[in-house]
């Protein structure tokens, strides 16, 4: 399914600050729909922070400040004319800590389609809810308890619920912050399958600590370290032949 290779999103010289503290330094990166992009790097290096700049979720952190340019389909998302609401609908996000709404499982999934008017009838909505839960690999476990609160699920179930919620609106870009951290291998496999399936039509960015996973699902990998983008390139190259020593050390587990 070859598509245009113009980047879906691109970041240029992005700096992010929390108050005085700089969390991201001068990062430039391109993300396209042909490839799944993985962000790797030690804990606290700024992966989540950078991910959140891509759909302006950092706006909600009072102390956060973003510099530089980030474009979506060529349009600067930090320009004043940008429609943040539409931006976030187009750039979906799964958070690192699962955050289901204190609503029923059904309503959690239906939330996005409802506000965006993606379903005209209850039946349509039911279809969307079922397919989203299926794709997130949660349907079988919860199909009998769709009325239960989303907060009464196990950790892994909550995480899958949040993935289902994010894909229910069919965004163009999907940002996933460690979507499989609380998942067992089977559930992980399902999510990876989902990612494979989405690739090509959607631009996907995934943060992961699991090198194997990065190698399995991504075509391009970005390695962050201490707030800088150390290396960005095709996954196979990064994993087999990294240009930088830091990257190599990290991947081979020698770093630290």
């Amino acid at each position: 399914m070859p598509q245009s290779s113009t980047p879906k999103m691109s970041a240029r010289n992005v700096n992010v600050f929390y108050g005085e503290k700089q969390a991201i330094q001068n990062v430039s990166i391109d993300v396209d729909t042909d490839n799944v992009t993985a962000f790797i790097g030690p804990s606290g290096c700024g992966k989540s922070t950078f991910l959140r700049t891509l759909n302006r979720m950092n706006d909600t952190v009072a102390s956060a400040r973003v510099e530089g340019e980030i474009t979506l389909d060529g349009e600067n998302i930090y320009s004043s004319g940008m429609d943040v609401v539409q931006l976030r609908a187009r750039v979906g996000m799964v958070f690192q800590k699962p955050n289901p709404f204190p609503k029923s499982i059904y309503d959690n999934i239906a939330y996005g389609p409802r506000i965006h008017g993606l379903a005209s009838a209850k039946a349509d909505l039911d279809v969307i809810v079922e397919s989203s839960l299926r794709r997130a690999g949660l349907w079988d476990e919860v199909k009998d308890r769709l009325k239960d609160s989303g907060t009464a699920l196990s950790g892994g179930q909550q995480q899958r619920l949040c993935i289902g919620r994010a894909i229910a609106v069919e965004p163009e870009v999907i940002l996933m912050d460690e979507p499989c951290s609380a998942l067992d291998p089977i559930a992980t496999a399902k999510i990876e399958e989902l990612i494979h399936e989405l690739r090509g039509r959607y631009a996907i960015v995934i943060v992961t600590h699991n090198m194997q996973q990065a190698a399995r699902v991504s075509q391009r990998t970005a390695f962050f370290h201490l707030g800088t983008l150390v290396e960005y390139g095709s996954t196979s190259e990064i994993f087999t032949n990294p240009r930088e020593d830091r990257t190599k050390d990290y991947i081979t587990g020698r770093y630290g």
Binding site: T60, K97, Y111, I115, S149, T151, V169
Partner: protein
Amino acid sequence: MNGVAIVTLILGLGLVAWLSARAKAVRLAPAPSGGASRNRSGRPLLHSLPVYHGWYAALWVLAPALLFLVIWANVMPGLVTERALQDSAAAALPIDAMSRSAILTEARNVALGNAQAAFDPRANALIEPYRSAHRFYSLGGALAALMLAFAGGAFAFTRIRPDFRARTKVERVVMSALLVASLIAIVTTVGIVGSLLWESLRFFAMVNPFDFLFGLKWSPQSAAMGYGNEDAFGAVPLFWGTIFIGAIIAMFVAIPLGLMSAIYLTQYARPAARAWLKPMLEVLAGVPTVVYGYFAALTIAPNLRDFAAWVGISNASSESALAAGLVMGVMIIPFVSSMADDSINSVPQSMRDGSLAMGATTSETIKQVLIPAALPGVVGGVLLAVSRAIGETMIVVMAAGLAANLTLNPFASVTTVTTQIVQLLTGDQEFESAKTLAAFALGLVLFVVTLLLNIVALHVVKRYREAYE
């Protein structure tokens, strides 16, 4: 011995016990080097922190001694009187119990320095016996209290050992304090029902409860001036007036203004603006009601009447439910806004983030995620506001009048239950008549009605609340 001195002394003992018990516990404790329950050498650590041992000892010193003093304060007057009566002067007292106790009370008041002189000369002879009996018993009480304090302290002190569960014991006391605190609410409720019930029963002996509860005519002047009780005590217009002004008109002002202010302040306003505006709005709740009353009566009401006349409402009066309700609504804005503000603000950030990341607008996030999660606080605020509105009198008297009309016309004069209660209780009339007793019956029925409202509200909140985590 004087009361203040002995209490201070016992408090001092408590402090000493606290310090020394804590010091003893510190001495008993092995150097902390291991985990929560033992150190590396295997010797058990203190079960509880030394401060808890301190509090344990202090409680044993203070509680029994102070409790004894309270009890003693209550039984002592009786004992003192008994002893004083053994004096020969007591023989001169009259047999009649009432005048006898009056004389005794006088003698006691003079003996204790509470009165300059006795009204009755027979009391004079008893003053000295009273004084000496009082001295005897107060000294005895003081000694007993001190002994109790020492005994309690000694007992507590011997129990301090590393494995002694001082924290558990102290916490049990704290827990009982919490329980007692919540019981105070119950006691107050019982007190209120009690103080209303008796008089209400007397009222219902005079007026048929059915007529009272379902009667459609409340005539304040019949109630007050005694043209007979028929037809005078139908409380429905009062309850309607209360609901009309307090729960409908005032809420039409307070809920939208209060809730929307809270939403704006928490979600849209800059933090600095919020820090200023929220307390500013709270001032509205503290403006004395006389001020609102004047404003409602002299500015709002005449304008409303002119407006009503202009749109062609014929029987518009210069006192109107609308004038009182509008101003009352303003007064209770902070009840809604501040409590809603706090609850909305304390919904976890991750909920907000979750919704915004779905592409929801701020207002959608507020309406669909934040408000449902903050529901208990919002409903709590609204309930408080309604409660406050129901209890308000001054604005109603000044702006809505005292005429008990059963009407849907907001430009007409109506009155409320509370207003009538205040008028009946503070007006110039005999205390034992149906007119005054009606105030108690009104109070009781109002109590029951609001109770029912609250039960409904409790269930609504339980049903619709969305608890995060």
